[in-house]
Each structure stands twice: as structure tokens, then as C-alpha cells.
Amino acid sequence: MVRHRPHRRVAGSALVLFAAACALSGCGGGEGGATSLTYYIADAAQADVAARCATESGGAYTFDIQRLPNNAAGGREQLLRRLAAEDRSMDIVSVDPPFMAEFANAGFLRAFTDQERQEFSDGVLEGPLKQSTFRDTLYSAPLYGNTQLLWYRKSVLQKAGVDPSAGPVTWDQLIEGASRAGVTVAAQGRRNESLMVWVNALVASAGGSILQPGSENVPADQVEAGLDSPAGAAAARIMHELAVSPAAPAGFSTAGEEDSRAAFQAATGGFMVNWPYVWAAMDAGIEEGSLPANFKDDVGWAAYPRVDAGTESASPSGGLGLSISAFSRKQDLAVEAIRCLADERSQKEFMISAGNPAALGSVFDDPDIRAKFPMADQIRTGLDAATPRPVSPYYGDVTGAIQTAFHPPDSLSPETTPRAANDLLEAVLSNERLI
């Protein structure tokens, strides 16, 4: 008896350990039956929509919700690691559009059939649709589209001598006007994906492109960058000028979207480029009492600033698409679920709760949306004009190199940055340099 006890205890402990490890790591996850779909979400509001869809399906499917990290790079890394390991417990994944090409090229995503493509692209705005396809195949069903607007405080316009509501304004006008009025121009100078968004918008607005056309179809070491150009120089010049001007908010080189919003809402706030979620976020600030109740009366919006006065701006493009893992064993059921998750009603709900613009044009005509988002038309126009970040199977290298070469903004120079960035990008893609 006595002799056996230790064995039993060891066996018991091992069982407990195993159970604990399972509970922690979720082994056997997604085994909740043949109708349970593991759904990786990037925004908490997706869970509410999913809960409704599951109920409406009448038991056809349920969701096991998994939350991705709340920053773009973290989300990409987690999906990439799991997909590369051929994780069969993943069914529906939320993919940030610039990363889709990388996943699709690696064979990680299930291509939608022609019929499904028809269904999921019907009525979708140009910008979100463009970034959901790779090599003429649809890999993501657009859930929402996103674009940045120029936000301004109406009270500072007169002193600044710029009026975005009267017509398009340029970055130079904004920097000069804000400096004159003693207010800030908030942009994202932090070294993460948001810096890439800004660089891409500036380069594209100046008529250039970070990668030469056609680069998505060549091997990494043959990709040619397009930054050593007047457009690349214009981007470096504007970023540098803003960073060293009195219009740069404190901590400019470390400011992400939320820091920009804080700078805009501060007493010295004047102008800001940012995604439309800020409008919903301001409501939260008013509710909490951190912003005056009439704060939004002072806030105006306009199209993204131009680089050249005569050339239309290329506003940033973002959003989220729903893709199906190529390793999922429930792919047909996943398509069925996406039909609900990304339909018009879901996109509307999602836009209201998360503040992220729908990808379907029809949602912008909805009276509820128009009441909550007075800038709905502006967003819709922006989505059509939005220019996606480079489509490349090696996007991780592209964004990493750009973030290294264009940071910190106050050290950039239109003479040297474009060439240095071009060389770095090509060398990194050829595996000759580190980032």
C-alpha cells in the first residue's frame, strides 16, 4: 500500500499538470464539435456580431472566439506563426489587408471560388476590394474598409489662415498655418505600421510608389524599390519639416494613432490625420468627462492633405478582411459563417460599435449611419481614392525596411533618405542586410 502511494501521487500530479497545461494552451481547441468555428478577431466588436450570427444560424455553427494582439504587427506575427505551422484549429482569420498577399502567396489562405468572389465583392467599394485580391483571386471577404481624413479644430482656422472646408489643402500649408497659430499637426511618427501608412500615403500622393509596378510577381531579390524618386524626396521633406517645426506635437517620433488623438484634443490641438474611429472615440471621451460636451462642435473634417496643390491626395487605406485558413477542416461552414459575419447588417453594426467604416457602399446610405457619422460621404469618397500599401509577398521586409529608413522623422533629409531607403529595401529583400 505504502509503496504504491507515491506512484499514484505522481500519476495524479501528472494528470493535473496535463489538465492545467491544456486549460492554458487550449489544446484540442476548436474541438467543440463539428459545428464550432475558431474565429480569430482583431477587434472586440467582432465578437458581438459573431454572437448574433451564431444565434441566427440556428445551431448550424458556433464560434470559438480568439483575440489577436491589438497592434497590426502583433496580429500578423501570430497569424503567420500559426498558419506556417499548419494549425488546423484555425478556421476564420481576420487579416489586415497589407499582410494578405504574404499569406496568400505562401498558400496559407483558401481562395474564394468565382461564385463566392461575386457574392463577397458585390457592392464593395473600390479601395477595400482592391486590397482583398491578390493575383486576381479573392482571398479575403472585406469586413471593413478604412481611410484617414484630415481632422481640424474649427476655432484655429482663422488664425492659421487655412480652411480645409473651402478646398483641398497641402501639407506645407498645414505646417505653416499651424506654426503661425501656435497649434499642432498630429501625424503618426512612431516606428510601427502607422509610420508605413504615412510614408505610403505621402509617396503615393506625390505620384510615386514604394515598389515598382509588377513587383508582386517577382522573387524577393529582383524586387525594385521606387523611393529614389521625386516622390520619395517629397515624402522625406514633408516628414522632416513637420517633425522639426513648432507644429510637431510633443513626442512626435513616438506618437501612434492614440497619441495623435490626445495631441489633437489638447488645448494646442489644431490639425490631425487619423482614421475615422477617432470620431467614435471622442464620444467616449465626452461620456467620461475628459472632453467638454460640445467638443465635437469644434471638430471638422476634410480630405487627406495633398503633397502638390495640383495633384489629388492618395489617402491611406486600411481595413480588415475575413479569410479562411487553407488548413481548416471546416472550410464550407466557414464560408457560410462569413456570409453573415460580413453582410450589410453586420458591417453596419460593426461601424456603429467600433467606428470603423463599412466596406459596402450601401451602408453609407443608411440613415442611422448618416446620423452617427456626419462625415460618411467624405469617408466613402476617401475609400474609393484610398491607395493600398504595396502588395507584396514580402511585405514584412518592405514595411520593416521603410520603418527603419524613415525614422526618426526629424533626422530625414530629402537629399539622402530616398536613396538610403531604396538601397536598404532592396538589400533587405536580397538577404544582404539586416533590419
Partner: protein, 317 residues
Amino acid sequence: MSTTIPAAPPSTPARTRPHRRAPVTDRARKERNLGWLLAGPAFIAMVAVTGYPILNAVWLSLFDYRLTDPAGRDFVALGNYVTILTDGLFWKQFGVTSLITVVTVSAELVLGFALAMVMHRALYLRTALRTAILVPYGIITVVSAYAWAYGFSNTYGFVNGLFGLGDYDWFGGTWSALFTVCVAEIWKTTPFMSLLLLAGLAQIPDDYLEAAKVDGATAWQRVKRVILPNMKAAIMVALLFRTLDAFRIFDSVFIMTAGAQGTETLSFLAYRQTISRVMVGLGSAVSVILAVLVVLIAVMFVKVFKTDLSQQRGDRK
């Protein structure tokens, strides 16, 4: 239950035992076998979970291999190592890592020694004091890094308010950002250093100190002539452990600066190549270089500084 434990620290009565012991008795052999039997499974598990990944990393480091492009995997022999060692970025980050290591370990040694003295000498509230000093070490590095990142933040941090620095951006410049990283590291790991030093302090017989006192040594002389020489082994072991740890710094940099403003360290370089770029071959090569550097540091401590790891266990002659 009553069997003798062979590795027991030799005490005075045991002195005579080696004379009586035959070369290898049956009993000793049995015990040795039992030792292997008991340690065997753990040993095998260790080799499986550490040996295999290490060897696999060395193997992968010889390839140009991108995780998203398995078909394009090419054998490049030492090509990745050449790329790394000829890239200025590697040497820059080697410099940053070394700087952080030297600064944090030196500061931790001084502060840790002071804290160890306090813990050793405290007359009242000993347990409470020791617990309080050890609290930072019990906090997960990521959490402490977040706490300090918020603390140094120019919008809601307490540091700027405390020192009247307005909206100074600590993370906006290389030196100030490195300073914040070092502060977070020192705050977090000084308790560990003091714990190791406390063990060393406790080993110094009170007789030595009393004798020194009787001979008229001042407090400083006692520290310099009695305490420090007798603690040399403990100090070296503490330095070795902390240096190896500090050289692999990742969490604080990742959370506080994300490597911006030239604060990237060698671990960050490995992370960037392996996880962000999914260049598994290149990233493995960086990891292998990092591992070799860590081994070199350990060898340097053991061979050059004659650090005796057995001293830490209390096996004093």
C-alpha cells in the same frame, strides 16, 4: 530513509570517512546507479527540449529560408553569418547590448550589495523587509516594462511630473530611451542580485567580524578587508548570472521602445529576422551568434575571473 547522502557538505566528524572508504563499494555503486535512475528522465527531457532546438537552429542557420516560401529554401553554408558579421547594424546592436549589460550589472551590484547589507543587518521586521525588497523581482518583466513605459510617458507618466520636466519625451532620443530601459532593468533585477549577495554575506562567520572589531577595524575597513574578500565567490557568481541575463535583454526594449531610436539589442535583432521577417535561416544565425557570445561570457567568468560555481552551494573548504 537513513542512508547517508554522499554529497553532504563535509562537516568535521566526516573528515575521517574518506580514509575508511574502499575505492568503490557495492553500496556506493548502487547509490550511483540510483542517482542516474532518478536524474535520468529529467536529463533526457532536458536534452530533448533544449538539445534538439539548439541543433536545429544551427542547422537552419546554414539556409536561406523564409517561412512563407518553403520551396525557395537554399543552402548557403556560412552565408548568413557573413551577412550578419559584415552588417554595421549587428555591431551597433552588439555595442548597445554591451552598454546596457555593463551599466545595469554595475548599478545592480552596488545597489544589490547595499540592499543585501540591509537585509542581513536588519534587526526588526526582517521578513517584511526581505519580502518588500524582493517584490520587483516577482513581477513579470513585461509587466514591469509596461509600468515604467507608462511612468516615463510624456502624457500620463509620473516621472515628468515629479521632476518638473513638462512634456519631455524620454523615448524620443537614443540616450534618454536607453536610460529608461536601464532604469526598468535595474529596478526589476536588483533584488535578484541582492538575494545572491545575501547568501554570500550569510556565509561569513561572525567571528571574523568580531575579531576585526576587537583589532580596531573601522566599519569601512571591515567591509573592505573582511566582508568583500570573503564574498568574492558569491559576488562573482552573482555577476555571472546577471551578465548572462542582461546580455539577452529583450522584454524591456520590446515594450518600452519597440527598438526605435537605436535601442535595439542583439535579442531584438534575432526577433526581427526570425519572427517579423520570418527569415528563419538568418534569424537562427543571429541566435547562434548570440548563444556563442553568452557561452563566451560564461567561459570568461569561469576561466579568467576564476568564478567557482560550487562556492554558491556552500561547499566551502
